[in-house]
Symmetry: C2
Subunit: 349 residues, 2 copies
């Protein structure tokens, strides 16, 4: 088995066929396939079609519901609560962020909080939707527990990521999207699959000793990034997405990989600010360009070749892979082939 480059349209078609054949409602298939392929295009394959091998069995087992028919409850002019009915997090996230953008267009800002959803994938996708609409977007989600509190030795928090997007004049956007753990859960998992060593400080065993060899069984808890500050951010995300939404909190969410576990009931929060409410978009873009220039023109630390704006690497990957095809590693290809064979679907390679 070797790595391959697959045209993004072909990959999207394959993802859609696999989702359909597994019982995903046709109203949801296109959105979910788009979001999976977008993650691959921007180079975040851990949130891309690699995930189908986990999503499809969970759908079949009834741990993800489709159609989920999200329920919208208007709480005030600018605030909506969504019950995701345990649907695909990517679908629920998409409709929730789209609603937040509508609210912001009407009210200057929009807040959509979601309960009873499942993992939404790459937060960057949702905040980019806001940025494309000329708005600033924030997205938060909790996830199953993996991360200890600062000083603690039991997984309490999910990797609880923070995502932020802001438009750039050329149609790209500033895309911030990071887990509040030392590394993302999916990056750890994909690394374990490939027997890659784990950096010290990423995870500890049940005695609090660093785990650096790639055996998942030894990992008892992951650690927050940046010490106490990362812990604070993780708690912030938990209060917003776990406490405030009325959904489950990370420490109550069943692991996505445990096939015997019930629905995840994850919470998300989407917040959008319409920039034009505060200053003309033209002026925003001038100011944003000044900031980007100041950062990019910075002299470099020894050994560094470039200062990157968050999102810049994603957009480079996007342009390259739109043109040259999406690079899939052999493990992902193997898993797609097996999923496709089970469902009697032809792969595009």
């Amino acid at each position: 088995m070797i790595d391959r480059r697959i045209n993004h349209k072909d990959l999207r078609e394959l993802a859609a066929a696999l989702l359909s054949a597994s019982g995903t409602d046709k109203s949801e298939v296109g959105t979910i396939a788009d979001i999976l392929v977008w993650a691959d295009l921007v180079g975040r394959s851990t949130q891309g079609i690699w995930r189908l091998k986990e999503l499809l069995p969970r759908l079949r087992a009834g741990f993800i519901q489709s159609p989920c028919s999200p329920e919208f409850m208007q709480k005030s002019d600018g605030i909506v609560l969504v019950d995701g009915h345990n649907g695909f997090g990517r679908y629920v996230g998409h409709v929730a962020m789209s609603r937040a953008i509508e609210l912001a267009r009407r009210c200057g800002m929009g807040l959509v909080v979601v309960r009873n959803s499942s993992h939404f994938g790459a937060g960057a996708y949702y905040v980019h939707l806001a940025a494309q609409a000329g708005m600033i977007g924030l997205a938060f989600t909790n996830t199953p527990r993996r991360v200890a509190a600062y000083g603690g030795l039991r997984p309490i928090f999910g990797t609880n990521p923070v995502a932020f997007g802001a438009p750039l004049r050329d149609g790209r956007s500033v895309l911030i999207d990071f887990s509040t753990s030392m590394i993302a859960g999916s990056v750890l998992r994909k690394g374990l699959e490939s027997n890659e060593p784990i950096r010290e400080g990423v995870a500890v065993d049940e005695h609090g000793k660093p785990v650096t060899n790639p055996e998942e069984g030894q990992i008892f808890a992951m650690l927050p990034f940046g010490g106490a500050k990362g812990y604070c951010l993780s708690l912030l995300v938990e209060i917003l997405t776990g406490v405030m939404t009325g959904s489950l909190m990370s420490f109550q969410i069943p692991c996505m990989l445990e096939k015997t576990q019930p629905v995840t009931r994850i919470g998300h929060v989407f917040l959008v600010i319409d920039i034009a409410t505060l200053l003309p978009l033209q002026e925003y873009h001038q100011r944003m360009a000044m900031l980007v220039t100041a950062v990019k023109d910075s002299p470099l630390q020894p050994g560094v070749s470039e200062v990157l704006i968050p999102g810049e690497a994603r957009w480079r990957s996007y342009l390259k892979q739109i043109k040259e095809g999406i690079l899939l590693d052999s493990k992902t290809i193997e898993s797609l082939e097996s999923l496709a064979a089970e469902r009697k679907i032809a792969t595009p390679w």
Copy 2:
């Protein structure tokens, strides 16, 4: 000179007298004195009355205006833009956060963005105001440039702190308040005054080499905390407070210590969500208590005596110092005595 404990009311009275004698408008004196003393009470002396030695000369020089008569521009039902007219950041911050709370009470959430202010001190103070009102509060500010972008070697960002507050049933609140640099600018400065060594990774010289000896002149740039993630957060704060407010950006803000420099024109952003719009406050408190218990009951990493909820140390300090008086170090006492003598004001000791 030795350290002393001073009754908080006496210290508040001294702060008010010093502010008045230096020309602070009487409509602003009480608020500013309260906020300074609150920072001392919660153990954040770097944002406490130690700051008067910098604030009073800046007021006299006209770099801080008083009265500043903040101007409120309603941008939508829930959004207000405030021009702080280069007043005391603590006063402007207080009226802005108070307005955000009012907006949230009416609309479910409130956003107040501030241009043309000055340093607002401890963000925790403002988010605690929101928490006391049964709301979740966020506060952001930029500050004069000190911090390099990740991989860069020129100060671009301020220490750009993030603050978040959420109510607890007993009247305290979760208080998150941290700089996105490795350490807060004021902590670095106070450390330099006391010739304390600097941890590696906190600051670099103009060649990118770590500075660890306590000589301010050698520090060319501070570094973001947590590597690329801290840089992302710093940029996020800059986009909100620098770009979106139409105020100065950190890299344009004059250093507060340069007496020859003009007004700072700092930007702040305050965001408040009224919890009761989403779920009954009773239910919120039950859920919050579950989360706090899960965190506090965590087994401990070797060598750790307790897992703290953010803000917990502040409230312990608050209760202790309300009762026993505020501990002032000898340098602060000296500086207060000198400020008081100049203005012919008696100190309470």
